[in-house]
Symmetry: C2
Subunit: 275 residues, 2 copies
């Protein structure tokens, strides 16, 4: 029997991957959760029918959420990750010795549990003593923690299901309030080929709250269109003002001192969305 997993990334376009095995398929309190083993990309975490991460290409997303912001802030001691229960962003944050504490707040404890069990390459730092894992609504956590974080990273699903509120202006205001006076946040903000309006709207909302707003991108093969954007809102520090020669060569496969600024050079049609 030949099994293929197909994700309709839009109503009319999708990707399809041959699978070896279904490891998890269950309805959690918040979403449909599956972990399948694909031939091409290895194990794959799927939430509500959308690929969240795969063992083969996860490094791109996780490195590109974590490092641009952490190398922009000169002294990131306390970091919050909203979502990201698979632990990939936490793993990258742990490469920064200056981070004293990283707090992960995911609404769905099952994502954490199954990632630890079936995606150990990704979840491997969730038990690091510098990490605190909280199962809670990120929106609520932000609301209850004012002026506390140096860096906040929003590693959400796409804006359907439990992540809808993580793309609202109210949430960005909450993030602003939860950050210290020189804090910086970054969020994954989908792709410009199929979700141009989302990028335009997020950009507009974040600009109304943060003085420094920058959009950058990376190639992620299993995400719709392969072009994924990230939006930074910063109270003080500008990622483009970083002296690249001061960024160390750490153990990464996508991010590098050379990629740091280049990632902010947007294709012209994406620049237009962010004006």
């Amino acid at each position: 029997m030949e099994l293929w997993y197909t994700e309709k990334q839009t109503e009319y376009f999708g990707i399809t991957a041959k699978i070896k095995e279904t490891l998890v398929a269950e309805k959690t309190e918040f979403q449909d959760l599956a972990i399948i083993d694909t031939v091409e990309f290895g194990r794959m975490l799927v939430l509500d029918g959308m690929v969240m991460t795969t063992v083969k290409d996860e490094f791109v997303y996780h490195e590109m959420v974590a490092h641009p912001a952490l190398y922009t802030h000169p002294n990131p001691k306390k970091v919050l990750v909203v979502g990201g229960g698979d632990g990939g962003v936490i793993r990258e944050i742990m490469k920064h010795p200056e981070v004293e504490k990283a707090v992960l707040v995911d609404i769905d404890g099952k994502v954490i549990e199954y990632s630890k069990k079936f995606l150990p390459e990704i979840a491997c730092e969730l038990d690091n003593p510098r990490v605190e894992v909280i199962v809670n609504d990120g929106y609520m956590h932000i609301h209850d923690h004012k002026n506390e974080y140096d860096v906040i990273m929003v590693d959400s699903t796409e804006p359907v299901g439990p992540a809808v509120e993580l793309f609202t202006k109210g949430f960005y205001q909450g993030i602003y309030d939860a950050l210290k006076d020189d804090g910086i946040f970054v969020a994954q903000t989908d792709n410009p080929w199929f979700k141009a309006d989302l990028i335009r709207n997020v950009n507009r909302d974040v600009r109304e709250i943060f003085p420094v707003v920058r959009v950058y991108w990376a190639n992620i093969p299993t995400y719709p269109s392969g072009l994924w954007t990230f939006t930074i809102g910063s109270k003080k520090y500008d990622p483009l003002a970083v002296d690249e020669s001061t960024i160390p060569e750490i153990n990464t496969k996508y991010y590098s001192p050379r990629i740091h600024k280049a990632a902010f050079a947007l294709p012209k049609f994406v620049e237009e969305l962010c004006k």
Copy 2:
């Protein structure tokens, strides 16, 4: 009836697109040629079962083949395109008034004929008086034209079918000989996620012939992995030495003076392939 076109980009991974209509499906002297109308990406040219271009995303590939090399050479008067019978690269070349003549050599006249008929947005400059269209084997044309071109662009299919010889060291040597003393060439060189060996081999071969070798990339949603590489071999001019402030803002949707150098910043795992 609901029709979907599925391309297996590897043995175990593919894309799938809902189609409205099949406009052409025939076996030419050289390859299987199809033009289908998809809902998501508009009309799509498919050769030997591989997406060559679509109306929605074609601008990325065509701009990124043409402009980096043309803005690196200070005076590109005569340009050769090998392959590219759809005319997209020619359309971009025609945006450069300094180009006096562009020669297109495609082995398959049917690609040219059907592109003119069904893809007029792409083929629109093939009848420009500055353009000469030749139906011939690009390998032979290169062999017969020594020291003639300022810029040569290889817009081939992937290295199966008629394009196999366009990825050989002998072909790159032929290109070197067909270029003038300060000539520059660029070729599409596939993706690093599924074809790492190809990129490594092309890089090694081109380095043995050209003193300046640079690899850059762009996001093309309908190509495997969404990350496409291009390799430049140059006798004299370095694309990274270009003063970006001298590049004009022309009518493009992907390429820009800001993208020119940023495109050469490779993800770290791709840098490793090109060492």
